[in-house]
């Protein structure tokens, strides 16, 4: 069992125009930097990208937006991103905004084989328009459907050749749920370790969810809001 590929290039083999891609990360934290860079280089286009955020102008998914490789974004918050705004307002970019918890659950359910579920989030708002409403215990809920993707691309801290992954800090975020929901799941990791180095008791993503894994290079790990307190 060896899921190791040499590089982002090999990991992305089979990636085609118009595919649906999930990308882990929250803001710029825990994003698959190597694969995003390679996707820019490959020039695939008309992508549907499922990602909580859309990066900033010059980093993260913003890089794909600048090259107009994304046709549709499925996100919960698209933050400060001038190019995103321009494309959205001009109609070049289709945008589907989803409550963050529903987005996370829809990815998890997609990976877990649950095609639909009920959640109270978004009832009575435009998110609920056209969706089935059902009342449970006196409270109205929306029927939400699962999401899956042709490729799910996640970033982890450490991984082994079985595809077992551990994440660091809040860089975990959407990565585990999306790892479950890819037809092909690619994990880029900061460090490849030997099987057995990761304690089986403390693995965040079991290898069964991962098809390809590689050790990334040159992580920038940019900080969006560097907030500090004075040493008193």
């Amino acid at each position: 069992m060896n899921k190791i590929v040499k590089s982002a290039s090999e990991a992305l083999e089979g990636l085609q125009d118009a595919m649906t891609i999930m990308l882990g990360g929250f803001g710029l934290c825990g994003i698959p930097e190597n694969c995003i860079a390679k996707m820019v280089e490959l020039g695939v286009k008309d992508l549907t990208c499922i990602s909580n955020n859309a990066g900033v102008d010059d980093f993260g998914l913003g890089l794909l937006l600048q090259k107009r490789q994304i046709r549709k974004m499925i996100s919960s918050y698209v933050g400060e991103n001038d190019e995103f705004e321009r494309q959205m307002l001009s109609g070049e970019l289709e945008v589907d905004l989803i409550p963050q918890g529903s987005l996370a659950a829809r990815c998890y359910m997609g990976g877990a084989g649950v095609p639909a579920f009920y959640t109270p989030a978004g009832y009575g708002t435009e998110v609920g328009e056209g969706k089935e409403v059902r009342v449970f215990d006196g409270k109205p809920h929306l029927l939400e459907t699962a999401l899956t993707a042709d490729f799910a691309i996640v970033k982890a801290w450490k991984g082994d050749r079985f595809g077992n992954l551990v994440y660091k800090g809040t860089a975990r975020n959407f990565n585990p749920a999306m790892a479950m929901a890819g037809k092909i799941t690619i994990a880029e990791v900061e460090e490849l370790v030997e099987p057995g180095d990761l304690d089986p008791n403390f693995i965040h993503t079991p290898g069964v969810f991962v098809q390809r894994i590689f050790q990334g290079v040159n992580y920038e790990k940019r900080i969006e809001q560097r907030t500090i307190r004075p040493k008193s």
């Binding site: 929250f26 803001g27 710029l28 934290c29 825990g30 909580n52 996100s75 919960s76 918050y77 698209v78 933050g79 705004e85 959205m88 307002l89 945008v95 905004l97 409550p99 963050q100 918890g101 529903s102 987005l103 996370a104 659950a105 990815c107 998890y108 959640t119 109270p120 989030a121 978004g122 009832y123 009575g124 708002t125 435009e126 998110v127 801290w157 994440y167 660091k168 800090g169 809040t170 860089a171 975990r172 975020n173 959407f174 990565n175 585990p176 749920a177 965040h204 790990k221 940019r222 900080i223 969006e224 809001q225 560097r226 907030t227 500090i228 307190r229 004075p230 040493k231």
Partner: protein, 217 residues
């Protein structure tokens, strides 16, 4: 009349020992600065941490440890980190005792609008719709009126909604109000603010019963 810090300070009085609390961006974030010494609360950030601590000292920022506002943070002893699906399982499953968030408008039936202004760039609802649909206890921190002086406490929201019939309490620069079946129930006045001031600044139905005490700090 209160400033933003005053609103945060008044909301801090709502916290109870042992509560798990989610603070939204803006005024709600300031609430953490006014926790009373004799209570312990745990702050959740919906990107995946319980036990969020203060900002790091300079040089100790960790790109892999941020809050939902994308700010660098620290983790306190006893903290736990989890993924987004688990985070919203906590929220949706009502394991978080209190959510404090800002609003652009609130209706007197407890509807809230805080994510979208038609004609302006939409950034998205983030976790707000999940939070307001789920939490048992939602306190809104907001200014009573907008920059033009128009009331933000309305009979009905004019902006696209974030959630319906979900707000429990509102703390503004002028007052504390609860959502009652009959409308905004006035609970407290801000220091130096009269009932008439609040009446004038409130478009929705306002219920005033007996003497309305001034907030205590």
């Amino acid at each position: 009349m209160l400033d933003k810090n005053g609103i945060a300070q008044r909301i801090a009085q709502e916290l109870r020992d042992g509560w798990y609390v989610n603070l939204g961006i803006g005024i709600p974030t300031l609430v953490a600065n006014y926790i009373q010494d004799d209570i312990n609360v745990v702050f959740q950030s919906e990107n995946g941490i319980l036990g969020m601590g203060p900002f790091p000292y300079e040089g100790e920022e960790d790109a892999d440890l941020i809050n939902a506002g994308k700010q660098t943070i620290t983790a306190l002893p006893g903290a736990s980190i989890f993924d987004s699906a688990t985070s919203f399982a906590m929220i949706r499953g009502q394991h978080i005792q209190l959510t404090v968030l800002g609003a652009m408008e609130v209706s007197d039936t407890g509807d809230i609008a805080n994510w979208k202004i038609p004609g302006r760039m939409v950034k998205g609802m983030g976790g707000a719709m999940d939070l307001v649909a789920s939490a048992d206890n939602i306190v809104v921190a907001m200014m009573h009126t907008n920059k033009k002086g128009a009331s933000k406490l309305l009979r009905e929201c004019s902006l696209p909604l974030t959630g319906v019939k979900c707000v429990k309490r509102i703390v503004t620069n002028l007052a504390v109000l609860d959502i009652s079946p009959e409308g905004f129930q006035l609970i407290e006045r801000a220091p130096g603010v009269g009932v008439e001031d609040i009446k004038n600044a409130t478009e929705g139905r306002l219920i005033i019963e007996g003497d309305i005490p001034e907030m205590k700090f």
